[in-house]
Symmetry: D4
């Protein structure tokens, strides 16, 4: 992530990776304050065997795109709300990459961080049937959870069956 | 894609996949006009061995998200300019997915289509060293091409070396 | 609605339907987490005799459009504020449907939920004179209420008559 | 509609109503230039037996909302692109109605006009089984049409079956 | 104003009119809930001798434009923040009037209300030299006030003179 | 206006003032290129007896606000489309004035120019009954014109009466 | 700055200038309330030897552009959040200057103020090697600081080395 | 600039530098396609004696910010319209830099390019009185030019004097 203050937004990604048993590292790599470290990190990503890089950043969010410019390891970008512009600046700075250097972009904020982790897991699941099953099971559980939460609608006709 | 009229936007994706020798199919699957076919397509994606689905759509672009809701095969969404709102409607409809169902989103229009194809290639390259090399070679060639185009700046100091 | 957390936004719709004596059910149907249940719900809507479906959702709000793709029962969409983008993402995801699959869209948030319920009542009132009268009476009451609230403008010339 | 120049945008609504055999009238009613005629039109809508009013307008689009303020006949609003702001002004002017006076809003421009007509037909179909069948048949035809258009993707794997 | 809840935003207008000794009335006139009263109010404005109408409204803010459609008394519109869209909906609904029916629009919120009152005073001052002098004096006082507020910049070079 | 290139946008204002027999002058006054001339023009406006100043400008449109800062003669601002941002930059630069220095803002582009001229005429009409009558007659004529334009809707039920 | 209330936003600029030992003055200069003082200030800037002017303003932010219109001393504009529009109005009012009168614009709010001060320091450093060194040292320190902040990611693989 | 296709937008910068006799070089440096060359260029900027770097880029415009991250030579960023989003993506990607790494941002498109060149000249003029005079003369000439262009307003009162 671009700054330690982005960590709150990215924490759901860590939680999901941990829940799925996927090893990960959490590092501060700042495009603007530590550009050489950014390049070194990106250059080492493939040799080190990294399979995906989740990069969150706010404002003029250059971290995901610059990582993608330096490595073929898939980069997953998460726009962080870090300015008064509600994350629209980060979203456009990440998603509007020119042809040739792709960044997979996810939603602004925590849902995007969660989804970047799940997407990374989907990538790995292509060659990991157990992880595929774990993702399927997670979806089933989340669907059941969504339906199980009661609604406070006293006048509604009760549902007969689902 | 959601409509045959989206094909012009998505053509760069086909071109790049063909250039890289990656087999692909091009199908119209409309979230709104053919919802059952959408579900069938998504359900068959994993059993059929699809490794990635590039889904372009415009306006209230529901195709990528609904595919992602029905399969764990990675979905790559491309916002298409199909309304007077310049593709902002499609971008937000694709990228702002809730936690749990990720769609990797790329830039509005043709650059996004090209990048979705390249990103799909990067995913496959994790287990395909030849493809990895092809992608590296493509980047090197594009960099050289970018630098080789002459600029019509007659008064500028000529570059000594690059 | 797409999630139990959307219920706070949609509660005014329930209140108005209850106030007008219109039977309704309140169900969680998530386009992304429970897509099959969404399709089943939509397919059963007409046979079960539903006359209208009020669907609220936030972010990449696909619920109203996907319901509309699967049934001819009128769908009324309510954009919910569920992300940092103030509901603009939900509004565009709901209203910008392509030709062929209409969703009637209402304002972002609680006023939109209230209006969706009133609009559903107006649809039913076409064949229900008592409901038509109830809606007329409600409007008259709300107009009187609007005019009756005092303003704290001590220097203003008092109104002579209304 | 608010102006004869809006007719190009609204023509698809007329075409669809004619195609479905639904009688309609096309009138210019301007909120700003003919406000008294607007009120008279709205007041007569219910006594005259109108079942729905499709109102298109651009810029500060007040026509749909003011009609809705004066009648309980369902109003369907269509934002027209009439200014440099791409219809965003018309969309917000129509959809953001306060609680109490609903306007069903559709997409900016011609797709919105088409959908307003289809939605009006869906409303009428609740008591008109033949119209319901006609709408179902139209959807089936449109789905087949969407799938039948060939794509110019010479390198794609040909589809085996649909 | 369109609603008693808009009064907080419009209060600065009342304060300034009172400060300048300009008689005014404060009335709730709702375009959507009390459309007939709106028309009556607008029709009576000129006969009653009103010289200006300050109209504040939020969301799909139709009040200023509909007043302007019914009277030649100058209408001054103030966009109120009444929805999650930060007043942008109200601003566009008020300012984007079509040619023929002008509304003078001011800033979103309280500064706009204050300025509408000052502008109304400027209109009246064309034939009221004392009011002209009062407005000049107010500006001079505000300028002095702006410059007199101390800044907490301990390291700054102290200003020598102004 | 801020530039001779803005004249095309402001021409409708000149046309309407000429049509109504209101004497006016058309001058280029640039906030950024001729700031001293701007101040001189504003300072002379009241002594010279100007009754209103219509100021059009695009981009970072500072002309209306700076005129308003220097004179109590009413300033009417017209946002001009002069950049790729569709006039939104000019609109916000003109309308969002701080409390104390009002600018009456009108729609982006030619409709705004026309309305600024009509509004200026309304201001003058307060003490000019003939101009008041001319404005009334113009509105009546425009309403008749709006209703007289035929619509090409061959299947529509012909209107019985208006 | 345009108002004493903008000082909170601009304080980081003062802090950085003080930290770097660069003498500065902090003055309220309001484009709208004190236009003559603005002109006087701008006219004296070059004779007094000012090397840069950091100008923060909100809403219809005319201060930076009007200063730039009156002096060749480099103006650095900082958009301040002073209205419900999140600073987008100030940003566009400052950055969208027409060709001929440049304003260097920085980010909305405090980061922009900090960067304006650093940029001013970079300008001065062209002829001040000690300041150049101080800026280099500051960057090195900030990079180290960014990397030193611990992350609360208990499940992450610990970094081996940097 | 980031791409040879950006040159059309940046040409006015070259023209102005040539007009003012300021030596410059025009180079393609792409943040995404030639990141190592970008770093090398930035690292050499100070040793080579560059006094300013004008960097234009479109979409997710990372070039100005990454240059600024690698050098203390002042960077001047010009947003280029390269996508359907009208340059808003480039503007936000350039201007919203985090505290610590400033980029001076100018208007979207050609006016921004012209202003970046003029601003660079203003920086150099601090130690170059002849250039200062040339800039003053240019402003005077542009002001005269602005006032000299005739307006086609046949009914306007002719200006007596300027």
């Amino acid at each position: 992530m671009g700054s330690a203050s982005d960590f709150e937004t990215l924490a759901p990604a860590c939680d999901i990776l941990a829940e799925l048993g996927i090893p990960y590292e959490a590092r501060v790599v700042s495009a603007h304050r530590t550009p050489d470290w950014l390049f070194e990190y990106a250059e080492q990503a493939h040799p080190r065997g990294l399979r995906a890089i989740i990069a969150g950043a706010g404002g003029a969010a250059h971290l995901p795109g610059m990582l993608a410019a330096k490595t073929l390891v898939p980069v997953l970008g998460v726009p962080v709300v870090a300015t008064p512009l509600n994350g629209m600046d980060a979203l456009l700075s990440i998603v509007q990459m020119p042809a040739g250097v792709p960044v997979a972009t996810f939603a602004v904020g925590k849902p995007g961080a969660a989804n970047a982790a799940l997407y990374a897991a989907q990538l790995l699941a292509a060659h990991d049937p157990a992880l595929h099953q774990a993702l399927l099971a997670r979806r089933t559980a989340k669907a059941a959870e969504a339906l199980a939460r009661p609604l406070n609608a006293p006048n509604a006709i009760p549902p007969v069956s689902t």
